[in-house]
Subunit: 159 residues, 2 copies
C-alpha cells in the first residue's frame, strides 16, 4: 500500500487507516440490513421479527435470564428491549416476572410454546443458503473479524 516509502518502517499511516475505516462502516451497515432482510420471510412464518428471534435464541441457550443480562448479550437497552419482550409475551412465547429478591429486576422465561418454537426455527438459517456467496473459510474469517471488532468496541465502552 501507499508510497513504497519504507525507510522509517512505519505502520500504515493513520490517514490510510481512516480512509479505509470510513469505507468500512457502510458495507457493514448495508450487509447487516440485507442479511436480516433475508431472514425476514422465514421468521415471519414462525411469527417472529429478527429482534425477537435473537431474544428467543438467547433464551434457548441460557434459559431464564434478566432483562439487564439479556440486554448486555445482544447490545440492546431497556428502551428497545422492554417493548420487544412485551410483544413476545403477548405472542405467548415468553413469561416476564419481577425477581422476588430484588423487584428492580425482571426475569424472562420461555413458555412451552417458546420452547417448541426451536424445532420450527431449525430451518431458519437455511435462508442464507444460495444468498451469500462466501466460502466456509471466508465466513469463518468474517465471523472472526466481526467478533474481534465487537470486542474492541466493548472494551472501549467498559473503560
Amino acid at each position: 500500500m501507499g508510497t513504497g516509502k519504507e525507510i522509517m518502517a512505519e505502520l500504515p499511516s493513520k490517514f490510510e487507516v481512516l480512509k479505509l475505516g470510513n469505507q468500512l462502516c457502510f458495507p457493514l451497515y448495508a450487509c447487516a440490513k440485507e442479511v436480516i432482510k433475508i431472514y425476514r420471510k422465514p421468521l415471519q412464518q414462525i411469527g417472529l421479527t429478527y429482534t425477537q428471534y435473537i431474544v428467543i435464541m438467547v433464551l434457548w441457550e441460557y434459559g431464564e435470564i434478566s432483562e439487564k443480562d439479556l440486554g448486555e448479550k445482544i447490545y440492546l437497552d431497556s428502551g428497545t428491549l422492554t417493548p420487544v419482550i412485551k410483544k413476545l409475551e403477548k405472542s405467548g412465547f415468553v413469561k416476564r416476572q419481577r425477581l422476588a429478591e430484588d423487584e428492580r429486576f425482571v426475569k424472562i422465561n420461555l413458555t412451552d410454546d417458546g420452547i417448541k418454537l426451536k424445532e420450527k426455527a431449525k430451518t431458519i438459517p437455511q435462508a442464507l443458503e444460495g444468498n451469500i456467496y462466501l466460502s466456509y473459510d471466508e465466513m469463518k474469517t468474517l465471523y472472526g473479524l466481526l467478533n474481534k471488532a465487537l470486542e474492541g468496541i466493548n472494551e472501549g465502552r467498559i473503560q
Copy 2:
C-alpha cells in the same frame, strides 16, 4: 476443518456452513449497530444522522442524482429515503427537484451549505480511531468480505 474425511473431496457440508451462517448474522447486526453508534456524536455535531451522512456522501461523490439511483446505491427504498431527503432539504443541505423530462423522477442536489459540510465532515472517520482494534490488514479483509457478501446478495435480488 470437519471430520478429516476427504476421500470424496467434498466441500464442507451444508450443515457446517449453516451452523456458522446462523452465527454470522448476529455479529454483523451487532457490529453494524455499534459502529454506527460511534459515529453518532461526531455526526450530531455537524447536524447529521448516520443515514443522512451516507446520503450526503453519495452526493459529495456523484453530485446530482435521482432518488431512485441514490436508493440503489445505499440499499434504501423511497419509503425510507423520501422523508430522509426532505429532512436534509429542511436542514438546508440539499435541493429536490422533479426532472422536467420525466416528472416521475426527483433529482437531488447539494446546496452550498451541503458542499461546505464536506470540510467539517473530514474528521468524522477519526471517530473509529481507538474504538476498533483491527489492524489495517484485518480492516481490508473485513471490507473485502463484506463487499463480496453484498455482491452475492445483490445478484440474488437481480435474478
